[in-house]
């Protein structure tokens, strides 16, 4: 199996799906001539031409709506947001149009489309460019929301998202684009809605998604040195959530830490904790703890930024606490 970057994995997914189905096109800011702000679409313009790799004006609301219209009449748009921070301008199209069209038309208009782009904080980009939107989008019925954390998952989930006849949100990570991993060269899909057990242990579960999966695996490896065996449940999809995977793990370990990139209030972790208290009440040996971004906008100063973000130490401390070790 080839070792490639997350960026290349996404590029492969786009290329393969655009070759497979000529209804698929990519649209967004600088996806064509510039080869993509993060080079995810590198080479696609040359290969597929400007009707299928479309550079747009800087108009998130506008081109997200163009995607919605194209999907209504049978095309399969992949709409790239340069970052999800900018997609706030397009939230009406995502929430009010794409997510609801099927329902309010009584089933007449499925919306086979993908909204994708980097999500969450990178480094020192400060408040307006550093936020994780999982919980905003996972809140909306009518959407599916996937958050690949590895190159393998990135390719498999993006391909599955493009083939899905529903609107699928793909939350990538700017800090992930250069990470490397094994990715098959053949055609494969990662099923939407299925979590992946990235580490196996029986002492504590870390339930996480997206970029945080890497941190969780790192924490598990550190804790293993102290003899603490951690299950790392990478949700991969946050809507629909793989409740069975969460419950199976927590019933095995009796303890859980939920790790997410976003803010605490009404976060993904809040939902995970709800599933746990409902399904695993009699199996819990400790309250479930959450690790997340501090409840502040992202500061610019390096030291403050580090304090604001969830990190390895906070994760390890939470695991030790639910195990009554500290």
């Amino acid at each position: 199996m080839a070792i490639i970057t997350y960026r290349e994995a996404l590029n492969q997914a786009l290329r393969e799906e655009m070759s497979r189905d000529d209804r698929v096109f990519l649209m967004g800011e600088e996806v064509g001539v510039y080869n993509g702000a993060y080079k995810v679409s590198k080479g696609l313009l040359d290969e597929f031409g400007e009707m299928r790799v479309v550079d747009t004006p800087i108009t998130e609301l506008g081109f997200a709506g163009v995607g919605v219209g194209a999907a209504m009449v049978g095309l399969r748009p992949v709409i790239e947001f340069m970052t999800w921070n900018f997609a706030l301008l397009a939230i009406d199209q995502v929430v009010n149009a794409a997510a609801k069209m099927l329902y309010m038309s009584g089933g007449q208009y499925p919306m086979p489309m993908v909204f994708r782009g980097p999500n969450g904080a990178a480094l020192q980009l400060s408040a307006q460019h550093s936020q994780a939107f999982e919980s905003w989008l996972a809140h909306i019925p009518g959407l599916k929301v996937v958050t690949p954390g590895t190159p393998y998952d990135a390719k498999g989930l993006l391909k599955a998202a493009i083939r899905d006849d529903n609107p699928v949100i793909v939350l990538e990570g700017e800090m992930l684009y250069n990470t490397k991993g094994e990715v098959p060269e053949h055609d494969y899909l990662v099923p939407i809605g299925k979590a992946d057990l990235k580490r196996e242990g029986d002492h504590c579960s870390i339930i996480t998604n997206g970029k945080m999966a890497l941190m969780a695996m790192n924490a598990a490896d550190q804790l293993a040195k102290d003899g603490i065996r951690v299950d790392v449940v990478d949700l991969r999809t946050v809507r629909p959530m793989d409740v069975e995977a969460i419950v199976t793990s927590v019933k095995k370990t009796n303890r859980a830490v939920v790790l997410e990139e976003g803010w605490e209030i009404a976060g993904i972790g809040a939902q995970v904790v709800d599933y746990i208290q409902r399904e695993c009440f009699d199996h819990l040996d400790a309250p479930v703890l959450r690790v997340h971004q501090e409840d502040v906008p992202m500061p610019y100063a390096k030291g403050l930024e580090k304090l604001a973000k969830p990190d390895l130490q906070k994760t390890i401390a939470a695991v030790r606490k639910v195990m009554y070790l500290d």
């Binding site: 096109f25 506008g62 219209g69 209504m72 009449v73 099927l102 038309s105 009584g106």
Partner: protein, 337 residues
């Protein structure tokens, strides 16, 4: 382009059969909407309900110029256009009643009428939100090399939104076959157009986008609307260029059923003045004058339409409520491609 002069009534465009058809379309909308108002008052219809009375020449004029394979998208004030596009009064009334036989299975209601068979892409509830969607349909037409047109109706208040500008810019930039129709009924909810738009002739918004055809026209004259639409469609279909029509009309009812017809933001005198130019009765007068039909024939048409509207009501009333299982249907499809 200057508005067209009123044509000589003795030389009405089209043949008498077409004119009777146009009149029938407008009269059906008028009587249907009156029936809707009655049903709303009796609690048969709930929620927001925006009547189209006074604007019938716009829907009939524009949509009578389209091909069946063209696309239509509109706002929440969508009953008139749905009827003019050919949707059955039964399916519309059942939708308004929230029943399973409604065009959107009772899931959409007054603001969200959809009919895939008619390429009627729905009524949309967020002012401005559907204009980029129309550009997307235009993009898809061009992507596939078709010669259809997407017609996008909107109220005049839309021209002040960012979505409008973003969509028209892309439509012009990419030369998309989109016909944007501004139905200028003078008020965005309760705010007069001159209190909201920093421009007088709204069709001049087209000037901001290279190559976009723009024109304003009297919206109470169905023939004038048809002519302007024809010119705009020519631009869209033949030259693959977007066009913008400002069709000046007037709504005789309040913004929605919960809104007074006159009082706070417009005077009774203004309304009375506008009622003199009722598009339905102007059309009738011209047809009588031209000898297209007699009073007796109009009365017969009234009887037939009245029966049609009552039939729609009875059908809707008899249609079952959606089953509880329907609650969870149509959130997602379980198919992949």
């Amino acid at each position: 382009m200057a508005p067209k002069k009123r044509p000589d009534p003795r030389a009405l465009p089209g043949d008498p059969a077409l004119r009777r058809e146009l009149f029938h379309s407008m009269l059906l909308q008028r009587r249907f909407e009156e029936k809707v108002g009655e049903a709303y008052a009796l609690g048969k219809i709930g929620g927001f309900c925006h009547l189209y009375i006074g604007q019938e020449a716009v829907s009939t004029g524009v949509l009578s110029m389209l091909r069946p394979d063209d696309y239509v998208i509109t706002t929440y004030r969508d009953h008139g256009q749905a009827l003019a596009r050919g949707m059955s009064p039964r399916a519309i009334m059942a939708e308004l009643f929230g029943r399973v036989d409604g065009c959107s299975r009772g899931k959409g209601g007054s603001m969200h009428l959809f009919d895939r068979n008619l390429n009627f892409l729905g009524g949309h509830g967020i002012v401005g939100g559907h204009v980029p969607v129309a550009a997307g349909v235009g993009f898809a037409i061009k992507y596939r090399g078709g010669d259809q047109v997407i017609v996008c109706f909107m109220g005049e208040s839309v021209v002040n939104t960012g979505a409008f500008h973003e969509a028209l810019n892309m439509a012009a930039l990419w030369k998309l076959p989109c016909l944007f129709i501004i139905e200028n009924n003078k008020y965005g909810m309760g705010t007069a157009v001159e209190r909201a738009a920093a421009i007088k002739d709204l069709d001049r918004r087209a000037d901001a986008y290279a190559g976009m055809h723009g024109e304003h026209v009297d919206g109470q004259d169905v023939f004038a609307v048809r002519e302007a639409t024809g010119r705009a469609l020519e631009s869209c279909r033949k030259e693959s260029r977007p066009a913008l029509l400002e069709i000046r009309t007037y709504r005789f009812m309040g913004h929605s059923m919960s809104d007074a017809v006159s009082g706070t933001y417009r005077t009774k005198a203004e309304l009375d003045e506008q009622l003199k130019r009722d598009p339905v009765w102007m059309m009738k007068a011209r047809m009588l004058e031209a000898g297209d039909c007699t009073e007796a024939e109009v009365s017969e048409m009234e009887r037939e339409i009245k029966a049609l509207c009552q039939d729609a009501w009875d059908f809707a009333d008899a249609s079952p409520e959606p089953s509880p299982e329907a609650l969870y249907e149509d959130v997602l499809v379980d198919t992949v491609s």
